[in-house]
């Protein structure tokens, strides 16, 4: 017997926070994502290269930030139930060594489609006070 993990559409309200998380990114997080994703651009692990191309230092992969944000939505939606996710990368996240960069993710209901029983989840993703993703939205199939 199988059991759907999709959230229930009934009772959802626009503006409701459905999930939030704080993540501490270190150089190890970036190396791990590089290996998992196959994105070995040296600006994500080599300070010399990062400074040469005009960055303050090593920055996180935009796709790592997006992946972390999507995981926060998934925690509420259930694995495999996020049918669409989109972001604009507006600001880089420098990741110091030694040390860590803190990223906060808040997932709120942005819109509800009663006919399709889908919820649009709007993501606020910040590094300190700086928003690092724009137009960050996910679509979740509900039951």
């Amino acid at each position: 017997m199988t059991e759907s993990t999709s959230p229930s559409f009934a009772g959802l309200d626009v503006g409701q926070v459905v999930a939030e998380r704080e993540i501490a990114l270190t150089r190890a997080s970036l190396v791990r994502y590089a290996g998992a994703s196959g994105d070995f651009n040296p600006i994500h692990y080599n300070d010399v290269v990062a400074v040469e191309v005009g960055l303050p230092g090593v920055i996180a992969h935009g796709m790592l930030t997006m992946g972390l944000a999507a995981s926060v939505v998934e925690e509420w939606a259930g694995a495999g139930n996020v049918s669409d996710v989109q972001v604009r990368f507006t600001r880089p996240i420098p990741v110091p060594n030694p040390g860590e960069a803190t990223v906060s993710v808040i997932a709120r209901i942005g819109a509800l489609d009663e006919e399709r029983r889908t919820a649009r989840v709007d993501l606020t993703v910040q590094h300190g006070d700086v928003k690092v993703l724009g137009k960050a939205q996910a679509l979740v199939d509900c039951t």
């Binding site: 191309v53 935009g62 992946g67 694995a79 996020v82 996710v85 989109q86 990368f89």
Partner: protein
């Protein structure tokens, strides 16, 4: 060097099929803090209605970025990769990828918009299964700064 806007409409692939594996799904789930057991344990995934462990939402980037590589390295498109910044990304799934899936990817150049010394290059990767049924669409926009003239400083 500048991006050739006449490259819009070009298509690359389909490439050698990509086989989605349990180990890769787990690695990716660990890297993006996707904590669900359905990414790691076949029994949990099957209890949730999946044939095998299910990939995290943005896993398809592993496959799409390999395909997009053919665009950014095509000399006739003219992308200087040292001047590239990732601007936008979108995943649209018909269904989630699961371990055991074998997918073929075709990448299209959908748009090249040039303004103020920056070219915005939008690619669309279409992932289909071996029967040709659509699985996921990955749309990616890169911002490419045009090269300065020789001798100019920046």
């Amino acid at each position: 060097m500048s991006v050739n806007s006449e490259a819009v409409g070009r298509r690359y692939g389909p490439f050698e099929p990509y086989e989605v594996t349990r180990v890769k799904i787990r690695e990716f789930a660990d890297a993006v803090d996707a904590f669900s057991g359905a990414h790691r344990d076949v029994a949990v995934a099957q209890a949730e209605g999946y044939a095998d462990v299910v990939a995290p939402t943005t896993f398809a980037v592993v496959i799409a970025q390999q395909a997009e590589f053919h665009v950014v390295t095509d000399p006739e498109v003219g992308v200087d990769f040292s001047r590239v910044v990732h601007a936008e990304e979108r995943f649209t799934h018909v269904r989630p990828l699961v371990a055991g899936d074998v997918v073929r990817t075709t990448v299209h150049i959908d748009a090249i918009k040039q303004r103020a010394g920056i070219s915005m290059v939008t690619t669309r990767s279409e992932l289909v299964d071996l029967d040709g049924a659509p699985v996921s669409t990955v749309v990616s926009t890169l911002a490419v700064r045009e090269s300065q003239d020789e001798g100019e400083t920046q």
